[in-house]
Amino acid sequence: MNEKTKSKSPALSIALMSILTAVVVVFTIFPRIPTPIHGYINLSDVIITFSAFLFGPWVAAVAGGLGTGIADIIGGFPQWAVFSFLIHGLQGLLIALIARAGLKKGVPGDAKIYMQILGGVVGMVVMTGGYYLVGGFLYGFKPALVEIPLNLLQSGVGVVLGIVVSKGVLKAYPPVRSLAL
């Protein structure tokens, strides 16, 4: 494919969103990291944060929302699919918008990483708060408190690993810059 036309190609945007959606599904279902309270956290937030940093708000919103929604359907939690779509979609959108603000001209070099961290923290709040609200609506606000530490841990790990993995991927596969929309 022609390098110059890549950024404007609708085929590229569909391909990018499809593959990242599939990656989010795989990383939501497959790698389960055990936690001390006999639960598991998944790596969906890592890919959402990674997509937000490298590919911008729309790709992160679509891949994060669709990916986690499909993972809920496949994984046996279809009642959560709509909520996951909205929560993780918004999470990806906001992380990318805040992180991109740090890339504007005139912003000092150090501010870039701070904006990425700020974006990640906002993403953590959106994800944890979103699931708490939905959980509270579905099974009561007090029982829903139980999920807050695990969701904070999952999204926190997602932000840290998202930043590390973004840098790793940029080093290992520099052409990834040309895929950004």
């Binding site: 669709l66 359907i73 993995v165």
Partner: protein, 255 residues
């Protein structure tokens, strides 16, 4: 990695059109959040479980219940904290553990959660994924989003297999010696995730080129390879949907 959630079977749920069924599931789920008596919700849940049992096996019908067991236990443990007022049902050393109102609140929330879970699960068990995608298209989902979902489903098993291979390679390099099953080694996390991501990202230009060769983005009319067909006519299916919803509404408000 298996992405198929459809369970082959026969019966009304399989005959029911995917579009009408989707509308029924959505409105039904909203309806159970209207104020209603616990007894009615329990009757409704029992009916839904019987329908699930008839559609699939008894063992399979119990699966959604198992996934909710943890949160149901947590909800039950929170009863004493939720409602302390009202008629005391269980008192230990002058401490009110369960009140009638607290129990009522727990049962209402638990039954709502169970009903919504069973409805959504039954929908994906009795409807092929392609039909679900086409149903969303029928309700106005754009061609691009539907194509994104379809392509994602095509690549999930491929990326899943790749991830497993990369993870296993890293485990072998680490040579832990003892079998630790499917558990993920924390120290292998970053290299495994990075490798799997690079592999997945490398497929993007190829997929984009394939789509362009297929004519995607040319502005010409797109083709659909499959259309949903409602046996007996779509009107009959939406009529059945309306009857189910109306009956449920009457049942929930009958006391």
């Amino acid at each position: 990695m298996n992405t198929n959630t459809f369970i082959a079977g026969r019966g009304l749920l399989y005959w029911f059109d995917a579009r009408a069924k989707l509308l029924t599931v959505l409105l039904f789920s909203v309806m159970v959040f209207f104020p209603s008596q616990v007894v009615m919700l329990a009757i409704l849940m029992a009916l839904i479980f019987i329908v699930a049992w008839r559609a699939v096996t008894f063992k399979q019908a119990l699966k959604p219940l198992r996934t909710l067991l943890f949160i149901l236990v947590v909800m039950a443990l929170f009863i004493p904290l939720n409602r302390r007022d009202g008629v005391a049902l269980l008192v230990i050393k002058s401490y009110v553990i369960i009140t009638k109102e607290g129990l009522n609140q727990f049962l209402t929330l638990a039954l709502r959660l169970l009903i919504v879970t069973y409805l959504c699960t039954l929908y994906i068990w009795t409807t092929p994924m392609a039909d679900i995608n086409l149903s969303f298209r029928w309700y106005g989902l754009s061609y691009k989003v539907a194509l994104t979902i379809t392509l994602a489903f095509r690549f999930i098993p491929f990326i899943g297999e790749t991830f497993t291979m990369i993870r296993d390679s890293h485990s072998l390099r680490s040579a832990h010696g003892e079998s630790e099953g499917e558990k993920f080694h924390i120290k292998d996390l970053v290299p495994t995730v990075t490798s799997a991501l690079v592999f997945a990202l490398k497929t993007i230009p190829h997929l984009a080129t394939t789509l362009e060769h297929r004519g995607f983005g040319s502005g010409l009319k797109r083709s659909d390879y499959k259309v949903l067909e409602a046996k007996g006519g779509l009107f009959i299916h939406f009529l059945l949907s309306a009857i189910i919803l109306l009956t449920t509404f009457v049942l929930l408000n009958s006391i």
